[in-house]
């Protein structure tokens, strides 16, 4: 079946709503507007306003209300329109969603799913272009997932809903229009493991989310040069599936981490550190990082494109890495 990332997400939501009465959607403009990125388009008509709930502009309250509803037996899907606005709800996310289970000595788990659009690339400037999923991955108690393929867009939501703990789903805005084939019976997928999206033995390109397409293109370009790159899609940023990316690093001896987020103190550093801790002697070169420039995102296209990882920067980094030590 031909579909898009957006449609796959929508199918996942519809499916979950049909399977479980406890599931409902809540967020700004998810209903009558049809969703800021049209993910929930049509669902209001299908499920009605009790289960597709438009909220006022009150991020802290409706995220907190989602947590409360989860505590009391529901399975809310809270849509925070974009990660940029989630900062207003961060207290609820860190101090409640992530801590209640622990503070209550295991009594109150929080089976909430919070979806948000993330990332840059659409010229919406500094306040609307954050890539913070790696930053959120610092918080114990949360699970952070970053569907980057149609299969994951279709399959991660249900698994996240079944998860007894809070799961944050980050959907990179540049992916919604991705189209391709999806199996008619595509369904739930795991949210535990990274996946090798392309096998190779010369260099590991470790990435996730919005940077996956550019990374795959980079691998193609590298292949044309005779450099056989392996592409690892982390999929879940917390907890990290270390084994998969360590195995790749051990195999290729060269690693480039590609992360749209700001470089300093981001998830890229964590991956580099873990590789150093666990596979240092397998490396032929230091782990390289291709990350977002450390700048609030500027509006003009040429500056924005220069600020986020693109195919050519990835290719260059991989070539340098392999070249120097080949």
């Amino acid at each position: 079946m031909k579909t898009t990332y957006r449609e796959a997400m929508r199918a996942a939501i519809r499916d979950a709503m049909q399977r479980d009465d406890r599931v409902f959607v809540m967020g700004e403009d998810v209903g009558r507007y049809g969703g800021c990125y049209a993910v929930t388009m049509g669902l209001l008509k299908e499920f009605g306003p009790e289960r597709i709930r438009d909220t006022p502009l009150s991020e802290s309250a409706f995220v907190g209300a989602g947590i409360g509803a989860a505590l009391n037996g529901m399975r809310p899907i809270v849509e925070v329109m974009t990660v940029n606005f989630s900062l207003l709800a961060l207290d609820q996310i860190m101090n409640n969603a992530a801590t209640l289970l622990h503070m209550s000595g295991g009594q109150f788990n929080v089976p909430i799913v919070i979806r948000m659009t993330t990332g840059a690339g659409r010229q919406v400037a500094a306040q609307h272009s954050h890539s913070l999923e790696g930053w959120y991955a610092h918080i114990p108690g949360l699970r952070i997932v970053t569907p980057a393929t149609l299969e994951d867009a279709r399959g991660m939501l249900w698994t996240a809903l079944v998860d007894p703990d809070p799961v944050l789903i980050f959907e990179n805005g540049t992916l919604y229009n991705t189209s391709g084939e999806l199996a008619d019976d595509a369904g739930a997928v795991d949210i535990d493991y990274a996946q090798v999206r392309r096998e190779g033995d010369a260099v590991s390109l470790i990435t996730y989310g919005g940077a996956l397409p550019a990374t795959l293109r980079a691998a193609e370009e590298l292949a044309a040069d005779g450099i056989d790159a392996e592409v690892v899609d982390l999929r879940t940023l917390r907890p990290l599936d270390e084994q998969t990316f360590l195995a790749s690093a051990r195999k290729t001896h060269h690693v480039v981490v590609v992360d749209e987020g700001w470089r300093s103190g981001g998830i890229s550093g964590e991956i580099s550190a873990r590789i150093a801790e666990n596979a240092l002697y397998d490396l032929d070169a230091p782990v390289a990082r291709v990350c977002g420039a450390e700048v609030p995102m500027p509006y003009p296209r040429h500056l924005e494109q220069a600020a986020i990882p693109n195919t050519s920067r990835i290719v260059t980094a991989a070539r340098e890495l392999v070249g120097v030590h080949a």
Partner: protein, 330 residues
Amino acid sequence: MSVSSELGVDPKHGIHLLRQMLRVRRFEEKCVELYSAEKIRGFLHVYIGEEAVATGVLETLDREDSVVTTYREHGHALLRGVSAEKVMAEMYGKVDGCSRGRGGSMHLFDRATRFFGGNAIVGGGIPLAVGVALADKLRGDNHVTACFFGDGAVAEGEFHESINLAALWKLPVLFCCENNLYAMGTAIERAQSQTDLALKAAGYGVPSWPVDGMDVVAVENAARRAVEAIKAGGGPYFLELRTYRFRAHSMFDPELYRDKGEVKEWMKRDPITLFTEQLRAAEAISHENLTALEREVADEVARAVAFAEASTDEPIEQLTRFVYSEANAS
């Protein structure tokens, strides 16, 4: 039930209310002692002086109703039916505590009594209460969620967002503002441009009353009226419960911000003394009854301390439990 005219309540019920207030008072007095003895650590916020508020409100809830509260919640937990043993063990940080010792004084939790904590971020529990109520409403269950917070919390954006949401969606939330006139050292006049908090609720179309929070019967009556209205489908209610904190904000507070005289003045309206006097005046309670009651309560507190003392520490190896649900541990 027969209602004594002077008392405004059935004498038996009156004695029950007094007992409840006394349970909280004596328990917390012991906590303060235990804090000095370094048995209890961290932050300790006592409710001494404010007992009529939680006593009156919680009296009106059913088992299936829910409670969300703050870090000043020992009383609420006890009154809701969490055992003094479990609460005290929690204050000790012991494994038999109601939160397994992980939470301490500020994070009492109890699933059995639908006691959703114990939130130490001012205002942080309010959205949770809205969500708990939303879940009830979505399921068609006719329950109330009582949400306690202080006058200080009214300044937080979360309060406003939450009361609007509850009103907009006609959710069964009873907003209980414990107005003790101070948020730590900040008097309400220095925190609110409009100190008549009932007016805030009006901005959301939420019915609200100020209530004498030193009069347990007045509190109970107001809460009952509100709970009935909520259960009749009227949407949320807001009660401003006017009270006063007799002790310091926490054990660290040097109390530079208020007059000793002001505190003394308010202590004349000690809800327990006031109500005891009323019960005495109505001849609903005798000196012997009172002595017996005090003994009973003292026993409960003593049992709680013994229990907490006897309980064990969580083994250090278990440090990282409850970060994720057990089946899900990773």
